[in-house]
Point group: D2
Chain length 273, copies 4
């Protein structure tokens, strides 16, 4: 978890007066105390409680941004009656950033390190050729990437019905995976757009839940899998043996917006943990 | 994957003659070619094939050690007919080290980064007190660790019935988790011994499968969870809010042997990836 | 090195047409070929050459951003005549980001991982106290941080006299260190401002060199050093034994601008490598 | 720093009795208290003090191993009188492992992460060719590696004159670098042997200083630099443009012993931090 506070901070920089400074140590203590006093429903809700506290309790603080990470645990299956043993389920990390300025909320949820691979239904052809081109076109390649995604909910004001954060997360995650699995890919860019538009279009929720997503940003490293040339050894590589290269790699990034919505997720947030 | 070759290498060091040196590049090519020619049944079997090749094909090479890592993938659940999409399942990494000297095999399998936590049934009391002791005893603590384990199979010779490596791995993994979940813990050392002896005692396999484990080494960092003192804020911490500290930490390591078996797993193998 | 290209990319996302896509592989080849054809004077100049090439040679590419890292090497001192041996000098990494849109340049240089420590002349007092405060004020503490900095040069157009990039880098680096060493610190915020304003005010260069810095952004993790309480052992800790904690930590970030200059360095660039 | 204690630990594993267990927390406190009470002359001496304390003060503890790391700092050059500002000098990390069993000492010093490169005077020819060979011989290549080294001093008993640890470290480091710079290399193995034998043969020290080195182990990843093929672009690469590959790589490891000395540095210590 990280907490960013900003506001009227001229004096601390110019004269060294700390009269408006809330120390890191106090922010840390506040997190502990709030965990006890209020418990934790979801990462988003806990972050909102903290953001509201900092902005409303310190006059010079104008904006708070709280970033949270949530790791999943599963119960260990046992033959006996024990039910207090857990094993970390490491498939991905759920993240969130809660922004508050005393009036409006900006809730960005997302995920990190979700590694996916399509073993076929991917090609890469028809690209620009110039004097420096050596890459050969392929009509059947492995497409692999490690998904980082951040989506921003439309919800922004107390009083409006807020999303169910856990259900909204699951819905976005499912839509991202379904788009990845269901798209015949002509490029990772095209797959990215399919993921993003899936999330935007299918984020409605049932019964006016308020979980609409207005913006999503995706960062997709192209984890190139190169066919190994086996001809020096008298063998034919019929799409069986690949080198999973890690450098250099292409990094495809883009924001998909609902028509009319503003772009507010900074380009670099997806690398900021 | 890493491949270590050793043997008659005096000249390369003394005179600079490379007549006995198999280059890294050739070892890499061999891996690719074998993947195509022979396929991969299990990490252990693929490593054995490579080790045998290097030791038997080069006169000066006396011993080969092949280390392998295996990551798990799951299919992406979709509503349609696609079945070529996978998502990385990151709970732990399966590892193996295959040793061969032309006559005897030494197969060590294991796992890395399996993070587990018991939320109760753990205490730590009755330890040494000296002039530098400040730690207070506790009769109810969180016990958490990140399991690294390596176990050595008794099997060592061609001609003897070899284990089913995948089933033997699953059996060892299950026994480790069951011992962790089922042990009331007076120390992480005691829990370690329970894990290790579980694996040794229950590794038999059905029908003389040959998967007996003679030795297991475990390395368990004590991922301390400290109760946060909430009294300065007028709150009582009834085992609810913990600080998951990461430094300094205790690291508990030991080897558990079947009676009469030699200890062959080097102490540092568990940090060697 | 990383290269980011953007422009008219609608079709690749919508229809999967790759007619405007320059593959990663081609960008890589271009870097190799340019290294041979043009050599490397400074990181900035090499990045500029690449940025200009991409924007001017591909009609659909509107903007290029090239990020570079430069590591320092020193010659190995020997007694003999050899002069082809080098040892990596790892004090910090020099970085740069070159932006070009076909008309204007935006050159941001900087450094990463420059770890510094003041053993005295640092205090932290007079900060906000609330119900969650437990931190005690101190009038003599260790101040340590790992400096990340990015500064933007005023220079932006071909035809204007460009800075000497190497000299401008050295000047900024020296000013940052001098400000750190010469400031009696009431907070890390105040020290940050001293560093930033030093760079802005002293970036002129001699003889109209064009190396003026209009903006600098600094990111300074507060590497807290806590006095260890030795009283349980009958000892007095007279500012001698510290715990160099790494979590939680305060992260102080700010941009210092020349009067009238716009802020263009994104907040998260300093974590984007 | 890490501290490993071993001895009569049967009961803690079998019955869960902690009567012989010195908690991690106490070991940590001891480090703090000793830093105050005794100060730190060199990493080795501080480690020895701790090792002696643990072995002699706890009846069940038979052996202690203390591992230390030492990072270098330089003073910041300023124009004024300040002399309390330091900048981390990151060229390498100095490490040590102090072993003690109540009678004999085993002092292993070393270094990590010393990256070096020879731009010429390196070849690789005359190696084994088999069906999987594609690598071409070269009579002029770049040789680069990241040196990990551990050397064991002959000194082992109180009463014998002990080395000056700082001078002995500098001597070994200088000998390693000189051997690297001064050897025309036919293979990294040969260069390794030159480094190791240099250290063994020139470790005498002046005036019976006791700093003789009996054993040294080196681990040298071959940081391959491959000539990039520029012919597709109509260019000739005259040993100017290289790809600094990082995978796969060869790892050359060996121990060099003084005639008659036993090998005691475990193969995996160099990866154990």
């Amino acid at each position: 978890m990280s907490i960013a506070l900003s506001g009227d901070m001229d004096e601390v920089h110019y004269s060294g007066s700390n009269a408006g400074v809330l120390p890191t140590d106090t922010a840390k203590n506040t997190v502990y105390a709030f965990a006890k006093e209020h418990g934790i429903d979801s990462a988003e809700q806990f972050g909102m409680r903290l953001a509201r506290h900092f902005v409303t309790s310190q006059p010079g603080l104008r904006r708070a941004r709280v970033q949270v990470e949530e790791h999943a645990w599963e119960r260990v299956e046992t033959t006996g009656p024990t039910c207090h043993s857990f094993v970390r389920s490491g498939r991905e990390t759920r993240v969130g950033r809660i922004g508050y300025d005393g009036e409006r909320w900006e809730i960005v949820s997302g995920l990190q390190d979700l590694t996916v691979l399509n073993s076929t239904d991917s090609e890469f052809r028809g690209y620009v050729k110039d004097a420096y081109t050596t890459l050969e076109e392929t009509s059947d390649r492995i497409l692999a990437t490690e998904i980082s995604a951040r989506w921003r909910y439309r919800w922004s004001r107390d009083g409006e019905p807020a999303p169910d954060w856990d259900r909204a997360y699951e819905r976005a995650r499912t839509n991202i995976l379904r788009a990845f699995a269901g798209t015949y890919s002509r490029s990772l860019q095209q797959t990215l757009y399919a993921m993003g538009s899936h999330v935007i279009e299918r984020s409605g929720g049932e019964g006016g839940e308020g979980g609409e997503v207005d913006e999503i940003r995706l960062s997709l490293p192209n984890k190139h899998h190169f066919l190994v040339d086996l001809t020096p050894f008298g063998l034919t590589n019929d799409h069986e043996v690949y080198l999973a290269a890690d450098r250099p790699y292409g990094l495809i990034e883009a924001t998909v917006l609902r028509a009319g919505a503003p772009a507010r997720i900074p380009a670099d947030l997806l690398r900021d943990r």
